[in-house]
Point group: C2
């Protein structure tokens, strides 16, 4: 539904929120989407409570209208009239084919259960947490016995839009998970969910409270991306970028003369996931080089001259490797002959044996079995070993300073 002329009251006894004027901004007509552009024409967000500091910051945040541009495009505005949320039919919408009175809007209808994820920032924290929680339900998600759809709403920084989303979640029979730094927004989400009778979970609220109590300081109540609240030009920022650029340049055995500059060196046969693993580690700020092991091709001597404490071997189950290689050969359109040397079982086994002999000759290199591991898991094992070796502490942990 278009938010422009949308009017909705939180309870039938309180007055409706003021109806914002329709705006006719062109959708993406080369408008710079930034933190600085103004939104005087935007909806007047009414915040009945909140500290003066918060109100001041709310104003600053209202200036960040970047993501509003895409919300209020020149779509046809619709006057939406709704029953109050305590009307029983609206409160507990029948599933799965509930049709609201504004059923003409073009929201995608989903099969199965929906989870709405709402964030005032990028939304990656809430997405990450929901994905992790869904990992607990793999047994019913596989084969879509119980299909689940997630819907991410990021950059939600006004209470009206928040309530629209909650209302839509109620219509769709969804639950709501949110990360909202502003205590008023978090409370509004909680109240709106209660009112519409939908289940909800505040991901960061309880954690932020405990951290505040531990540090003995109050939280700012501002989303991470809030105006003036982020300092990307830190040393860490430059270090991450440098790591990514280094890792891209070193990919697939390029520039072996730079192996000594890498923090981590990965060695393994083709399709053991060296590239995605390298990139994942680079995102975390580590310079990674990866060296392919190919049967019959001599490895660069720099690999053996590099600090063996930073070299990690990758190995994989031959049957799984063959499956991956077959898929790869197909997607690359290999001819029959090439396909057989690359993905036939005999070759796969011999190449893995070849790699195994190299690993045996370099006993300092830990060899990691990647079969059945997601990239993140292999990365976690490598980083545990890396930090453990580096700090030689008896309680292996990865420490970071803020």
């Amino acid at each position: 539904m278009a938010s422009s002329t949308f009017s909705w009251s939180i309870t039938p006894h309180t007055p409706s929120y003021p109806t914002p004027k329709p705006r006719n901004q062109p959708p993406f007509s080369n408008s710079i989407i930034n933190n600085q552009s103004t939104s005087e024409s935007g909806p007047q967000v009414r915040k009945p409570k909140g500290s003066p500091q918060l109100n001041r910051w709310s104003r600053a945040r209202a200036l960040r209208s970047g993501h509003k541009l895409e919300r209020h495009s020149n779509r046809t505005t619709q006057a939406v009239e709704l029953r109050s949320p305590d009307s029983p039919t609206d409160r507990a919408p029948p599933e799965p084919a509930f049709k609201g009175r504004d059923g003409d809007d073009d929201v995608e209808r989903t099969v199965g259960k929906s989870i709405y994820m709402v964030s005032d920032g990028t939304g990656w924290t809430v997405e990450h947490s929901v994905t992790a929680a869904l990992g607990q339900f793999t047994h019913c998600l596989v084969d879509r016995v119980c299909p689940v759809s997630t819907h991410l709403f990021s950059g939600v920084d006004d209470v009206e839009r928040l309530r629209e989303i909650v209302k839509q979640a109620a219509k769709e029979g969804a639950m709501l998970v949110y990360t909202l730094a502003d205590p008023f927004m978090a409370e509004s989400a909680k109240q709106a969910c209660k009112l519409w009778g939908i289940q909800s979970n505040d991901i960061l609220g309880p954690l932020t409270e405990v951290v505040a109590s531990h540090l003995g300081v109050s939280p700012s109540g501002l989303p991470r991306g809030a105006f003036g609240n982020n300092l990307p030009l830190t040393d860490e920022y430059f270090r991450r970028i440098e790591a990514i650029e280094f890792t891209i340049k070193q990919d697939d055995g390029a520039l072996p003369q730079n192996l000594n500059k890498a923090d981590i060196v990965l060695a393994g046969v083709s399709r053991t996931g060296k590239t995605p693993l390298s990139i994942y580690l680079a995102q975390k700020g580590y310079k990674v080089a990866n060296v392919p092991i190919v049967m019959g091709i001599k490895l660069p001597k720099n690999l053996f001259e590099a600090d063996p404490e930073k070299v990690f071997g990758l190995t994989i189950n031959p049957i799984v490797l063959q499956t991956i290689r077959r898929a790869r050969a197909k997607s690359l359109g290999f001819c029959d002959e090439m396909r057989s040397t690359y993905s036939e079982m005999d070759f796969v086994r011999r190449e893995l044996d070849f790699a195994g002999k190299i690993f045996a000759q370099n006993p300092t290199w830990p060899v990691i079995e990647v079969t059945g591991k997601a990239i993140e898991e292999t990365a976690a094992v490598i980083l545990r070993l890396y930090h453990d070796r580096k700090h030689k502490c008896s309680m292996p942990r990865i420490s970071k300073r803020y």
Copy 2:
């Protein structure tokens, strides 16, 4: 402290946990670190409660001894004797220079407040959440007014190790944040923190409960990386790897003939963060190409032939760009002459103007101001626009099916 001969009881009235035998495995002597290797010699994890299903799975998980190799290395074993946790000095250790009776262990001592993060999986969820929560305390973390250190303990899947960590957190005056799928482990963490008087937060427990109630199924109680609980060879896995490989090959204007194959094309002058942004989006499964805009150099015609709905321009404040370019020129060891053409203000402004003209000629391309935005934030803006355009729905959201 070495875990081998460590003995500690959860309350003074319950018997101590059995003392595991010291093991003398070589630290990384080319042992394959995998899900399959056995750990019969490992500690006997006592789980007083838990469903038969959980016990069965606990056994399966005990087979995943990968990360145990690095824990139980051939360091000198120490017999550690501890007072019971209800001894007041242990319960509320004085800060900052608390010295335990086993003060000879080599755990790094940290200044300021510590946050211990414990996970039975990779630990990225807990790390992500803590980083997000710390975003609420930027005002006191900047300039290290209130320094904070985080310590990540990943792959924690036995209760003994968990309790060791809690005890160490208590000694260091740290708080504990955890993601533990096994309800017994989560409960143990809670109880141990209560006993030692330290603050704690369970990140996923409450969310998992709400999701379980929403889906109407019980959670598995297994960490995501548990044996048999992950299926990395899904279509999504292959899609992500393909996206990363595509993006690396397309970096910095390479292979302009492939621009039509990209999901997203980024255009901007040097140092607007095209590469890290491309890689970040690729990790999320999008094929990204980036095209540098260099004053006086003609852009590839394929850029203008590609679907304009997928092209995004990046722009940045000239002063910030100059700062970044100066740092870059320095790190690359540019000579004076090159440095001036690259990072001097006049050139920077003219190049940004040049890019601005190209953007003006292509009004369909949204132009994103990256100044003051972290990579994740720019990515979030791009993905919102991308999905909004693609689905043309009136309630912009990024949907995903599980």
